[in-house]
Assembly symmetry: C2
Homo-oligomer: 112 residues x 2
DNA sequence: TCTTATGCATAAGAGATTTATGTATATATT
DNA sequence: AATATATACATAAATCTCTTATGCATAAGA
């Protein structure tokens, strides 16, 4: 993924959130959407993305639907019910993480 | 470190920032300070902390000063000049990370 | 006396990502 | 027509960071 290695550990959160918002996306589309939303700041690599999608599917958080467009393969992923719940968890963990880091880095903030 | 694996990659930032603020700290003190500042939310493990301190020292970002207090060893670390510069970098990377994640997770935010 | 706190350290394993490949079709460029 | 770029998937080896499990040693509290 990106430059700074702070991004390690946030790929799952990103994938789930994008799928929550767009209902149905395929791998390549996710890489492009992230690049677009972050103005090129963050580039998800295929080597990280595809194994991650497979894992989320294996865990029952995502469903797949294979289609063919212009004679090229596409695998559309969407959240399962369980995936929707896990998305909520991941997002609150992210908020918690940000709050905690603010407490450490900016002593004006206090964790409650 | 902590529970959620979002914290991967942020240990260095945490160490550097605490040293910037306190000028001089030893390992155990860092673990306690983090626990205190985050109300127990984040616990730095020794297995992560000590190798990280050694690495930062090897890279020239930290200086060490060994002392003995109550017959027990203490290794005080402080930022080198280079370490001070790197702290600024790490902190801005953290802000950048947070901003980018907001853009992904909360579409109202836009990365500029 | 036994447990907890203080204080350091390292090694094995796990987990996530990077880097390097590989395959294949469609489109744009020279 | 040939070549490069974009689209679209995939995996394997290496790397990096952290967790878990140890180990050693002194001080203080129950």
């Amino acid at each position: 993924m990106g430059n700074s290695n702070l991004y390690k550990g946030s790929l799952t959160t990103i994938i789930l959130k994008l799928l929550e918002e767009h209902h149905k996306m395929y791998g390549y589309e996710i890489t492009q959407k992230v690049k677009e939303l972050t103005k090129g700041e963050l580039k998800i690599t295929e080597g990280a993305l595809y194994p991650s999608l497979h894992k989320l599917e294996a865990e029952g958080l995502l469903d797949v639907e294979v289609t063919k467009v212009d004679n090229r393969l596409r695998k559309y992923y969407k959240l399962t019910e369980q995936g929707t719940k896990e998305t909520v968890n991941k997002l609150s963990e992210l908020q918690e993480y940000i709050k905690t880091m603010q407490a450490l880095v900016n002593p004006k903030f206090v964790v409650k």
